[in-house]
């Protein structure tokens, strides 16, 4: 996949609508490999819509104009089936809140990250090859939860769960990492830890990180570039370290 040349995400004149309502207007966006980008904006600005559209999620809305390429895959051509699954297996996602299987063990949740590589029927019974299990355990050690592998996931704290989600993304080993407010339900300390971990993991793997951020204080930790959306329109695209926090606040609000 030669994504360095044409960018990991290329959107041209992208318009996304839900029925007659336009959610994203004429979004033009180019994100290069290895970049760490934050999407900011108010509720309803279209951040999550943009993020979900990148991997073909969102049954309620669809691309009505323009083009979108993610990891050299044209989303118009990969609407469903194998093509879409292949794209998704190369994009790891970390979301806010409850998206782990609470009844399964931590390790089982991390192993799900390998579902895009291994389609065998054994995986239906949560039986994975030994190499997968070692990799998943290693991912858990990386996020600092090596001891928790066999605990039930719903016994973990919110911060720990987000770390499990990051471990799953790590285990997936994708070149593109999407995160939708990964720190939304956490207190300040846990949010800080999770944000730092996410940025560090992306940097280690040389993965591209696109992250919806609500708390602008976390911006310098997570991203080097910030894109602001307002009512479905890109209104700012700035380098984070070229500005002071106060300047950023002014630019992005």
């Amino acid at each position: 996949m030669n994504s360095a040349l044409c960018g990991v995400i290329e959107a041209r004149g992208l318009q996304v609508s839900a029925g007659a309502k336009v959610l994203l207007h004429e979004v033009g966006l180019s994100i290069a490999a290895g970049e760490r980008v934050a999407l900011v904006g108010h509720n309803g600005a279209g951040k999550s819509t943009l993020l979900r559209t990148l991997t073909g999620f969102g049954a309620a809305y669809r691309v009505t104009r323009g083009s979108l390429r993610v990891l050299d895959t044209d989303l118009a051509q990969a609407r469903q089936g194998t093509a879409l699954r292949r794209l998704r297996s190369h994009v790891a996602q970390v979301h806010q809140g409850l998206h782990l299987m609470g009844r399964l063990s931590v390790l089982d949740n991390v192993l799900i990250g390998g579902a895009g590589r291994h389609h065998s029927v054994w995986t239906w019974l949560r039986r994975w090859p030994a190499a997968e299990q070692r990799a998943a355990q290693a991912a858990l050690v990386r996020v600092g939860l090596g001891d928790a592998a066999h605990r039930r996931t719903d016994t973990l704290s919110g911060g720990e769960r987000q770390k499990v989600a990051i471990a799953r993304a790590l285990h997936q080993g994708a070149p593109l990492l999407l995160a939708d407010e990964p720190t939304a339900s956490l207190d300040a300390d846990a949010a800080d830890a999770v944000a730092s971990l996410l940025a560090a993991v992306a940097a280690e793997r040389r993965a591209t990180l696109v992250c919806v951020v609500h708390d602008l204080d976390l911006l310098p930790r997570l991203a080097e570039r910030a894109i602001a959306l307002r009512r479905g329109v890109v209104v700012a695209d700035v380098a984070v370290d070229a500005h002071t926090p106060a300047q950023l606040r002014g630019l992005l609000k």
Partner: protein, 317 residues
């Protein structure tokens, strides 16, 4: 609350509800209120009319009589039932002489031994009933699984299959176990097999609907997260849906099993095996003491397994 216009339609909503309702949706909120209050008297009136019509027509057809001597019959039956036959195991006559009208001894009967034999028969019938309920429930669960999955709207099975599954489940659920019992006795003959099939057919409808509803009420976020890894539909189901819905499904199967233990006590009435045969025997021979024994046995079995299944269910969920 609101005044009514002559044609029965509700007058415009009072102002204070519009004030109290949030600004974003004042219209729907007020409409809901007026509708609810004007519908209530109409509903009560309809119910009252139905009750009166039922009473009046039945009385006119002379179907509401209690028979000639209801109190006397009730008293007699209850008196005989207050002496359950199983007491004869201890208090029965060991040497009961059955005589004819002339005082000639026809035969000598050991009431205690007879009752012990009867109780053994009751035990066997209970065991059959339990087996019918259990096997029927297992079979029902196996049938309900695929149908429930197809019928669950959020799993997005192809339309035609979804509607088909829903239709089959509704049909199965609306036909009573006893009716299925008659049906299967006609097909596979008298005995437990017919009972098992009858229980399975009706319970499959119930379980399938419960399963579909359990899946529909699932939190789809974790399921979408599994989908987001590029998992195949099979993996999405087994890694995302099944672990979340399994405890509920097991609990529902146990619940339906409880139900079926109750239900299958009467299946014998139509010849589908189990206790029902003894029940109809005791009733048609007016052996109220034996009927009392049978009813006690049923109550004992049903409460035992209710408690058992409830204890297990509490531990699962």
């Amino acid at each position: 609350m609101s005044t009514q216009t002559p044609d029965g339609a509700a007058a415009p909503a009072p102002d204070f509800t519009a004030l109290a309702a949030p600004r974003s949706a004042p219209h729907s909120a007020t409409r809901w209120r007026t509708r609810r209050w004007s519908a209530l008297p109409a509903l009560l009136m309809a119910c009252g009319l139905l009750v009166l019509a039922s009473l009046w027509t039945l009385a006119a057809e002379d179907e509401l009589s209690l028979g000639r001597k209801p109190w006397q019959n009730l008293g007699k039956t209850l008196t005989e039932m207050s002496e359950p036959s199983f007491l004869r195991v201890w208090f029965g006559h060991p040497n009961l002489q059955v005589r004819d009208a002339d005082g000639q001894v026809l035969r000598v009967e050991d009431q205690r031994a007879t009752e012990v034999r009867y109780l053994q028969g009751v035990g066997r019938a209970l065991w059959t009933t339990l087996r019918i309920a259990t096997l029927g429930t297992v079979l029902a669960a196996l049938i309900a699984l695929p149908l429930g999955l197809l019928a669950a709207r959020n799993l997005q099975a192809p339309r035609a299959f979804a509607w088909g599954a829903k239709g089959v489940l509704d049909a199965l659920r609306s036909i009573h176990t006893l009716v299925f019992g008659l049906f299967f006795v006609g097909i596979v003959g008298l005995g437990a097999t017919a009972g098992i099939l009858a229980v399975a057919a009706h319970s499959a409808g119930t379980l399938g609907k419960l399963l579909a509803e359990a899946i529909e009420s699932l939190d789809m976020q974790p399921v979408d997260a599994v989908r987001a890894t590029g998992a195949t539909p099979g993996q999405v189901f087994f890694l995302g849906v099944w672990p979340a819905v399994l405890p509920q499904f097991v609990s529902q199967v146990l619940y339906v099993w409880e139900f079926n233990i109750r239900d299958s006590t009467i299946l014998g009435l139509v010849g589908a095996g189990g206790l029902g045969l003894l029940l109809s025997e005791a009733m048609s021979l007016f052996q109220w003491g034996r009927l009392a024994t049978l009813l006690l046995a049923i109550v004992l079995m049903v409460t035992t397994f209710d408690a058992l299944s409830r204890a297990v269910r509490r531990r699962i969920v």
